[in-house]
Amino acid sequence: MKLIAAMSGGVDSAVAAARAVEAGHDVIGVHLALAANPQKYRSGARGCCTIEDSHDARRAADVIGIPFYIWDMAEEFHDGVVEDFLAEYAAGRTPNPCLRCNEKIKFAAVLDRARSMGFDGVVTGHYARTQISENGKTLHRAVDHAKDQSYVLSVLTIEQIAGAIFPLGDTTKVDIRKEAEARGLAVAQKPDSHDICFVPSGDNAGWLRDRLGSETGPIVDQDGNKIGEHKGAYTYTIGQRKGLGLTVPTADGSPRFVLKIEPVTNTVVVGAREELAITTMRGERPVWCGPKVTDKEQAGFVQIRAHGAALPCTYHFDGTLLVANLSEPLLGLATGQAMVIYDGDRVVGSATICQTQ
């Protein structure tokens, strides 16, 4: 196949590109420039798409022996990922930008462009697997569960999965680094990136404050009594206990947790821990990574964070929303996050959490 390998300048995408070449594909390396004004250097695990990263990607492509280009996706990234991130926070939800980037950039803008240019698909260094079965090409967890990235890929449609190649899903990260070393790739020991790439300082709250302002507002209990003041509602997360700065103690001295963020009234609602417990979540804008979910209740697992636990549940689709009923109550679930349904290791689909109870 003729493939575009998305190369970030990190070890994973470099080995993925090398493996695709070795598998006999005709591969071209592409580094996505996602920041309009990239920083020169990367600092530790923070940030990506610095100029240094693009040099690392170019060098890896040269060592692998494939052509290399840089594609400017800064505008698409800003509109589809950064603006979405801000809008979600402003609406009191907690978004996952990596998921949005896969949905709108890597497997949309890049895959579409690649296909128009005559390529068959996009290779990335994500830790995930695909399988061909009677249901077509399906998406599965990586062998290395600690590194598994199927959660952030759960927004891919069947069409997009058809054009996605993940060569690393069968290997652990430790072995990928060894392989990179053996292949003579200078990025073999380059640190992983963890934080949000467009917040290079790592200070999410500060970054949001600079863009959304820091309008103070009330912190209230469940009866609506004001018991404190916050410095920008979006810097709080459901389930958060620390940093509330409350001076009025509860009657029994038990701690308070953030229960709700109400952007319209700029209010943060706090309450007792048990108030956080939920057993049902509903998600909007569902995406199916394989056969469509029906109104028939199925047993499976739901995951609500990139590296969170798979929680046993039953699930169905009510025609508008994806509904998951948990076997055990869960504490602290923010809307805006993705709920991803698994059938064993297979990704069934995902939706953006809009209601919990």
Partner: protein, 380 residues
Amino acid sequence: MPSIYVDHAATTPMSPAAFEAISTQLQVLGNPSSLHTHGRSTRKSVEDAREVIAKQVHCLPSEVIFTASGTEANNIALKGLYWQGRSQGKNVVVISAIEHHAILDPAQWLKDHEGAELITVDVTADGVIDLVSLKNIIDKKGSEIAVISIMHANNETGTLQPISDVVAMAGQIPVHTDAVQSFKKIPLSFSQLGLYAMSLSAHKIGGPLGIGALILKRAVEIPALLHGGGQEREIRSGTLNAPSIVAFAAAAQDEYQIAQVIELRNEFIKQVKEQFPDVIINGKNVDRLPGIVNVTFPGTQSDTLLLLLDKANVSASTGSACSAGVHEASHVLLAMGHTQQSAQSSLRFSFGSTSTHDDLNFILSVLPDVIARGRAANTK
């Protein structure tokens, strides 16, 4: 599979004579600044080369200052002439809107860090500087201008600039020209033009990479960028790169196949216009360098076209990229009135002495598919 190179304005193959010269000189021992036999022998080769370059551009041998690049020559000239002017109370730097980054960026630096007032001369839709606007600037600011720097021919479109008119208008004001693209492609006479300074580069004419020259009028003393051993009129210290210098001179004596290059260029334009009637040939109404064609293909993105051409074994150019490697809309095309979008739909094809009709036919055979896919992939 053929491998077609149509990016001679970026760099061009080293000529056999230059290759022979550099190979031979690399085996010769001696620092040209040393006073003994070995040193004097190398020095003689360097001075022979200097005379060759001087003869080619009609200047005195002592007016040739060897540098490591055209960029360095531009930096020495612009900054040096500015600093010299500033010491006499003149702080205005005048450049055109279509200069190479090796002038644009030092000029901006002089503004940001050295107190220069930077004035940019506009260009016409065909990419030629507007002499009326230059005259207005000189009339208004003449006594404050430290240096005027206007390129001899533009590197992206090939359009020639009216340098003799500029010099005539400038009177006593020092004029520098970046002649990197013009040297050996069209007649170029430092003395006839009456310039203060002119920049050249070896690798654009079949010499090696990493060697250039600043032609600087005799007895013009400007502050140096590099201080050290005092070589090159104390304007450019550093051990002279004798092997590259002799190869530069060898390349300068080669004959440029001007008629052949013009014929290929014209044939290319004719055929491209036939294949794609909606293309724009940038600068088409004015005199241009023989080898450069800049084409706008509406409805495409040039970085996509470059990738597809490259995949089809054709090396062309999108113009400049920023330090992150991202293709940018050409400031030259923008200055000529293009929109961001149309500027980003343009490619430069540049032919050289080694270009052939077979090259041309091959490019024309792959272009339809490249442009069709490029249009399909266009997202802007």
